[in-house]
Symmetry: C2
Subunit: 315 residues, 2 copies
């Protein structure tokens, strides 16, 4: 067996789906493929000199990644029997926002990272100006997709999606979290500060992903609150595991540089709790997350499996 | 009389309202003041390390500028007796998008401009990373404002605003126009190519400004089309005059560097038509623009005056 055969991800970067539970692995693969088709259609290439920004938007969003956020949209929407087309468009819009944030975060003035999903980050594959514009274009397009009647027939639902995503992605959410992450105060954060940073920078989009299902399904408060609680826990566990992978993992496995946090002197969950303590904390949080989904019974089983996957992932 | 008294703009950059017609001057000042109050409220400062991005968002949007785009929203909305609060929020959202585009355009990787509205551009007053995030935050917040029920009671109207702004600001509009503007093909554009670039980079937001009035007012097709035609003309005249000011004006008058187009070897209206030819073309277009507003009678007089002001402005 050749090296390429023994590692199915080697040709296109690391395999993002290594080690999930069997049913979940198939569901994640199906969702990732469907989201990619949706993104490919929503970001159709155009001719002329402006075509370059579309090329970069496609490069940044079609290239790889676990598609965990759109998967959460699909699974949370399924709890309320939302038509899959609505959930897919919403998931694709969210993925555009996630991908724009990676493009801007990787810029030399920000995290200065040349590697993403096992290949050149957007500003290396294109140039800085194009990467900035591609990020801007993806963010803008995401809101256009959500506001389109194809996403949901009820305009109130579409407006609620736009408002929730703007809140999650903006200065009270992801953008604010990134601001904290690059601030001088970053190195000295205590555990509560790290949690707050995480809930803004990473957690806000996870929360939107699950909230979106409830919005699309016009869910009642109890169901919505259960999903929001689950998402908050999931985002926190995700970030703790991210810190562990950065401390313990290899660049080859992750498709991006490791050891960055320590090199930059960033306060992390691992730094505060130690490797074992951080892993125990993540386990506890995932257990809580799963318990929150009890009201959905068997319908929530893939979401619960996702939480366990987040804990056990190696990339 | 002191120098400061003879030039009311000297303390805070050039006076953006020099030379408009008397009634228009007052209306522009009133609108600019109201939009600033609205922006100040929508972008309230926050505590903590994430507060820095809000500071930069406020710096970039409260600092100056003619507020011509929100003024066009207010005036086009007035044609349909839209409540002023709705128009003001929409105008403020549009101004956030305009200001984000200036912040990102000024970045070293883009136009590398250190001066904006007569003072340091955002990445000089803060730093590049903060400027990138502030732009992202402004763009994101704009969509949140439009989707909020405070902007209009009808969710269909709010969704139409979000969709129209996403279209105008995205890769088919402003972002695509900026991509062309920094492309290698830029230097060789012919007159049609320059017009197309302009209609995307500058025209799209002017068009949205007038379209927004029609959307808020749920206007009939004829009124909407008249406004869209007016906006297209206005944007084109605005850009021709911008080229003339870049070729003829002073940095002191404009509050930003001049002679940039020639230095960068960019094809411009002035380069294609000559100074006199470009001025004649702008005059002709403004006359057309005013004719399109005849269906609104006296109610359109300030919009017509705005078109003449765009032609006669010196900054």
């Amino acid at each position: 067996m050749s090296a390429a055969q023994s590692d199915p991800g080697s040709a296109s970067g690391p395999d993002p789906l290594r080690n999930p539970l069997p049913d979940l692995a198939q569901a994640l693969r199906d969702a990732a493929a469907a989201v990619k088709v949706e993104l490919d259609q929503l970001l159709a290439p155009v001719a002329g000199p402006q075509g370059r920004v579309l090329e970069a938007m496609r490069y940044a969003s079609l290239g790889g990644g676990k598609r965990l956020r759109p998967f959460l949209v699909l699974e949370s929407a399924r709890l309320f029997d939302v038509p899959r087309a609505s959930a897919l468009r919403t998931g694709a819009a969210l993925e555009m926002v996630h991908c724009y944030s990676l493009v801007h975060d990787d810029l030399p003035a920000m995290d200065n990272s040349d590697l993403r999903h096992g290949r050149a980050s957007a500003h290396k594959a294109f140039d800085e100006a194009t990467a900035i514009l591609a990020g801007d274009g993806l963010l803008t397009r995401a809101f256009g997709v959500l506001a389109d009647p194809d996403t949901h027939p009820d305009a109130k639902v579409r407006c609620a999606l736009v408002a929730a995503l703007a809140h999650a992605a903006g200065s009270d959410g992801m953008v604010g979290g990134q601001m904290i992450d690059i601030s001088p105060e970053r190195a000295q954060l205590d555990l509560d500060g790290i949690k707050r940073l995480q809930s803004m920078k990473t957690g806000a989009l996870f929360t939107f992903a699950c909230e979106a299902g409830a919005i699309l399904g016009q869910a009642e408060a109890a169901a919505r609150d259960a999903l929001l609680g689950f998402a908050g826990d999931l985002g926190l566990a995700f970030q703790i595991v991210d810190d562990l992978l950065d401390a313990e993992g290899s660049a080859e496995d992750l498709g991006k540089p490791t050891g960055q946090d320590e090199a930059l002197g960033k306060a992390t969950f691992v730094g505060q709790l130690g490797n074992e303590g951080a892993r125990a904390e993540a386990s506890r949080i995932v257990k809580d997350a799963c318990a929150r989904l009890e009201i959905f019974g068997k319908k929530g089983s893939l979401l619960r499996a996702t939480a366990r996957f987040v804990l056990e992932r190696r990339s």
